[in-house]
Amino acid sequence: MSLLQIKDLKVHFPIKRGVLIDRTVGHVRAVDGVSLSVEEGQTYGLVGESGCGKTTLGRAVLRLNPVTEGEVWFGGRDLAGLDAESMRRERKNLQMVFQDPLGSLNPRQNIGSILMEGLQTHGIGDGDDRRQVQQDRHNRVVEALERVGLSDRALKRYPHEFSGGQRQRIGIARALVLRPDLIICDEPVSALDVSIQAQVLNLLEELQDELGLTYLVIAHDLAVVRHVSDVVGVMYLGSLVEEASSDDIYATPLHPYTRTLMSAVPVPDPSVEDTRERILLAGDLPSPADPPAGCRFHTRCPWRQKERCDTERPELRTLRDAPSGSTHRVACHYAEEILSGQIQPSEERAERIVTGGAADGGGGSGGAEDQAH
């Protein structure tokens, strides 16, 4: 039974024009028909480049953005249909960790007050009188702080007194203190230094093991997402293009966009860097206000075929010859043919595919190799 199920979710933002009267002249289709489900105790990683709608999707689940269409099932209720007050109450079960750890903490509130706020809002705390409730809340706050590796000395301090990594730990503690079932982490480590990043990633994993949390992790870094997630979904221009277990997605990426993304992630190992295939895409992301017809990726896809890619929007599906029960789904008409090599990347764009060695021969990098051996 999945904890969170999103069905055909759409979030469209109106584009307004006009001086006196706001006319709606169009819509930015930030999220345009995404369905996914997150299993209990697992981590679902959502990856994509900026502008693909991954953050909007995460916020729409919590109704921090209005949902245009679709359903969000959580604990037997459709969150998209709840009124504001019921949604507010429901949020104690769904918490969010934000990207910018300083920007998401009130600079004038001390840490104790920041962490206490959620408990007060939701009226959490056991006890017969006010004092006992206060004491219970205090204990919960300290427990959450200790879980993320801070101590109760932090309670009376303010956000600016902490380093970036510690602030992110506080952000995680704020989510934890309500003991939610699901935590949505929106770029939890992208603002942090490399060594701090790893500490926070390890912390998230430990907490999951101890508390049985479910995560929806949203990030742009495929290596980070693959490291923390059980299932990875790749988004492009408002829709999912591929979804698979994180081992499968690395072993056999099916969608051309996933292959491109994978090939663009630098690996800290010179021998891998020199030999791996790099697919360079032409141009930039098309505007989500006017997405291309047919497959969203066809304007940049090296494997693009005539007709069908331009006109028919591919559905997320399993491979035709996949064993039953396969969770690897892809939104590409020609996934099988591309995998088997039947369709080769088109001539004009093939030059943008760099197979290692040939391109790296110059540039002096060869010199470093010579010295090494």
Binding site: E146, A154, S195, A198, D274, G363
Partner: protein, 354 residues
């Protein structure tokens, strides 16, 4: 190549920021490296290690007041070698853009938002190459075309906000290569960009170095970028180089515990899943002064009492000339202290008291 001396030899560069009534803060504290034509040298480190200040000092872009710059940076100029740090501002203005060029991290804030791209590119051509009017515009369009901007004549009339992030960075690179400088400094050129755009920009930089024989100083925090692009790598920590090596030995056999920690912190796409990362504990704030010992000691799993006996010198490895580290107890020399003890929350929490 031609000459024996490297294109730019930086020796013992130090930058201190003075504070009223307090001792100057040493952002860069004795960094030495050299740049050669057609090669890429990397400066790697986390925020606060002094990598950006190094580049600003070399370009002469630091303010005059409150900053002390020491050391030498000798560059082979057409008229003979000269120390960049000792040149007067007037001379530096002639060199910047023509001999040295810089690509900044944030392409939006380093372009003038109210001036069309075309004028910003032709400005350099006018200043350094004396080009005017139609000739300058044509050259600017050529430059934009070379860095892979489609429809350059239209783009020349547009403003920075009309360009996408990758396109802006390309425009900046076009400005940097306008006068075919012999030395380029790229300060985190891809940090603000998406990974597919990053791949495009790195490919472009790689081509420029190969075709033009430019020397490139690549400043980044991303070891993955370094592994693909750089020939020589300097790892900086708290203003000093802690390890220097050609890229193959640096990644194959890193010796300084900090380098090892950095490599252990990065989730790798090609690594088997399920293995926890092995990060460096603590944060950059946990330093001690280099004069007291190794600044990295408080975060190091290998530290001994020897580490606190004054600043550790740079040592060359016996087995591997060219591989230098600043460590008295390098990896491969001692057993790792039990991580489990050191990673306990109490240790992490201690820095709250600072």
């Amino acid at each position: 190549m031609g000459t024996n001396a490297p294109l730019l030899a930086v020796e013992e560069l130090s930058v201190g920021f003075g504070g009223r009534g307090s001792a100057p803060v040493k952002a860069v504290d004795g960094v030495s490296f050299s740049l050669e034509e057609g090669k890429v040298t990397g400066l790697v480190g986390e925020s606060g290690c002094g990598k950006s200040v190094t580049s600003l000092a070399l370009m002469g872009l630091l303010p005059d007041r409150g900053v002390e710059v020491g050391g030498r940076a000798v560059m082979q100029l057409p008229k003979g070698p000269e120390d960049l740090l000792a040149l007067p501002q007037r001379r530096m203005r002639d060199l910047r853009g023509s001999q040295l060029a810089m690509i900044f991290q944030d392409p939006l804030s380093s372009l003038n938002p109210v001036v069309p791209i075309g004028r910003q590119v032709t400005e350099i051509l006018k200043r350094h190459r004396g080009m005017r009017g139609e000739a300058a515009r044509k050259e600017a369009a050529d430059l934009l075309h070379r860095v892979g901007i489609p429809d350059p004549t239209r783009r020349l009339r547009e403003y920075p906000h009309q360009l996408s992030g990758g396109m802006r960075q390309r425009a900046l690179i076009a400005m940097a290569v306008a006068c075919r400088p012999r030395l380029m400094i790229a300060d985190e050129p891809t940090t603000a960009l998406d990974v597919t755009i990053q791949a495009q920009i790195l490919e472009l930089l790689r081509d420029l170095v190969t075709e033009e024989g430019t020397a490139l100083l690549m400043i980044t925090h991303d070891l993955g970028v370094v592994a693909g692009l750089c020939d020589d790598i300097n790892v900086l920590y708290a203003g000093r180089a802690v390890e220097h090596a050609p890229r193959a030995p640096l990644f194959a056999e890193p010796t300084h515990p900090y380098t090892v920690g950095l490599l252990g912190s990065i989730p790798r796409l090609d690594a088997p899943r399920g293995e926890p990362l092995t990060p460096v504990r603590g944060s950059v704030n946990d330093n001690i002064a280099w004069t007291d010992g190794c600044a990295f000691a408080p975060r190091c799993d290998h530290y001994t009492m020897d580490c606190l006996q004054g600043p550790p010198p740079l040592v060359e490895r016996d087995s591997d000339p060219g591989h230098v580290h600043r460590c008295v107890n390098p990896i491969g020399h001692a057993e790792v202290v039990d991580r489990a003890v050191l990673d306990s929350p109490a240790v992490v929490g201690e820095e709250e008291d600072r």
